[in-house]
């Protein structure tokens, strides 16, 4: 396959950045999108040019590192992570636009790499359980109803890639934050910190400069792990419940 790539190049956070055009040839339809970029970078290095910086790690769809907006869609045309997107999803001769996640809370570090540490700080605000449990308890010691376990797992699937933020017209991080909150709040292990978790994580989310939710639903459409839009409803319910409960005390 022969392709024309328009890639966002930005030297550093202070640089304005612009799209640059590159031609790549000899691309196999079986290559992943990242392998196609590796091919481009090998050529750029041989030509003495600066290779395109992009985030990647596991390349098997579970780590959440890869993060490209491809032809305007977070992670591109398939409902998966960029690393699991293959070139057979494109046609010979296509022009492909490649950009970083666009959100004010995710500043560009270089080219296609953005700083997603805002997500880490949201997790640090409450996305954990502090109850000391000693060594691993017997699995049946705390009974969890199957629907709750399934719901927790559905939310635990979030890999924190940030596609929800990139897709959102408001740059909101509510799908991510709600997934992390609901994952723990539906489980008995998460119950002792149920209120502080949702209040602190939502406060941190706002402080990081993410936008608010207007239920556009783009996040759930872009999410490679299928976190549903009702996850946000669940978070709002948790938040209302927590504010009332805290107000009573």
């Amino acid at each position: 396959m022969k392709l024309t790539l328009r890639v966002w190049r930005q030297k550093n956070a202070d640089d304005d950045g612009a799209m640059s055009t590159y031609e790549v040839d000899g691309i196999s339809p079986d290559m992943s999108f990242l392998e196609m970029l590796d091919t481009l970078n090998e050529e750029l290095i041989l030509r003495g040019e600066d290779p395109v910086a992009f985030d990647h790690d596991c390349r098997e769809g579970i780590c959440g590192a890869c993060s490209l907006v491809i032809n305007g869609d977070a992670h591109g045309p398939e409902r998966t992570t960029t690393c699991q997107l293959h070139m057979r999803s494109f046609r010979d001769g296509d022009r492909i636009d490649i950009e970083p996640w666009r959100a004010s809370a995710f500043p560009v570090i270089k080219d296609l790499v953005v700083d997603r540490s805002a997500f880490d700080r949201i997790i640090q605000a409450g996305g954990y359980i502090t109850a000391p449990t000693g060594s691993a308890p017997e699995a049946h010691a705390t009974a969890v109803p199957k629907p709750d376990a399934d719901l927790a797992f559905e939310h635990a699937e979030c890999i924190g890639c940030g596609a929800c933020v990139a897709a959102c017209p408001n740059g909101a991080a509510m799908l991510f934050t709600s997934a992390k909150i609901n994952h723990l709040n539906v489980l008995p292990q998460g119950a002792p910190e149920r209120e502080t978790r949702v209040l602190d994580m939502v406060a941190q989310m706002d402080e990081e400069g993410f936008g608010g939710c207007t239920l556009a639903g783009e996040c759930a459409t872009a999410c490679p792990k299928g976190i549903p839009l009702v996850s946000i409803t669940g978070m709002n319910k948790e938040w209302l419940r927590a504010t009332r409960k805290v107000a009573k005390h």
């Binding site: 030297k11 550093n12 290095i45 003495g48 040019e49 600066d50 290779p51 910086a53 570090i109 270089k110 790499v113």
Partner: protein, 129 residues
């Protein structure tokens, strides 16, 4: 590493690998080309640093595998096997964890033996016969 320090290793294979790694290191430093500088976000430099680390790690793995002239666990020295083809342990000589102290690239590391003491369950020769 795949060829000479894989799941089955031999004295001669490991010695070959130990001869080859310094040549690869020399070639690496002679031919390395890293775009950009160290004063910026530089993924190419990060990769190059990892290759340097891997060369040291590979060398140490081969050296340790050569030193441990027994078979045990995932370390199978072809010279050390039972007639049935099982890993032949030599606990009287090698019942220790080898902690190697780095003394510089290409320099011989210093071995610190940490003896393994089994109070209840003692290592035995595996045999399905």
């Amino acid at each position: 590493m795949w060829e000479f320090c894989g799941m089955a290793r031999t004295d001669s294979g490991l010695r070959k690998a130990l001869g080859r790694i310094p040549q690869i290191r020399e070639e690496f430093w002679r031919r390395i080309k890293v775009p950009g500088t160290g004063e910026e976000f530089n993924q190419s430099l990060e990769k190059a640093n990892r290759v340097v680390d891997y060369l040291e790690l590979a060398e140490l793995m081969c050296l340790d595998a050569l030193h441990r002239a027994e078979s045990c666990g995932g370390h199978f020295r072809e010279e050390s096997q039972t007639p049935e083809g099982e890993a032949a342990r030599r606990d009287e000589e090698f019942a220790y964890a080898a902690a190697w102290e780095f003394t510089g690239t290409g320099e011989a590391p210093v071995l610190h033996r940490e003896d393994l003491v089994f109070e209840y369950v003692h290592p035995t020769q595996r045999s399905y016969a």
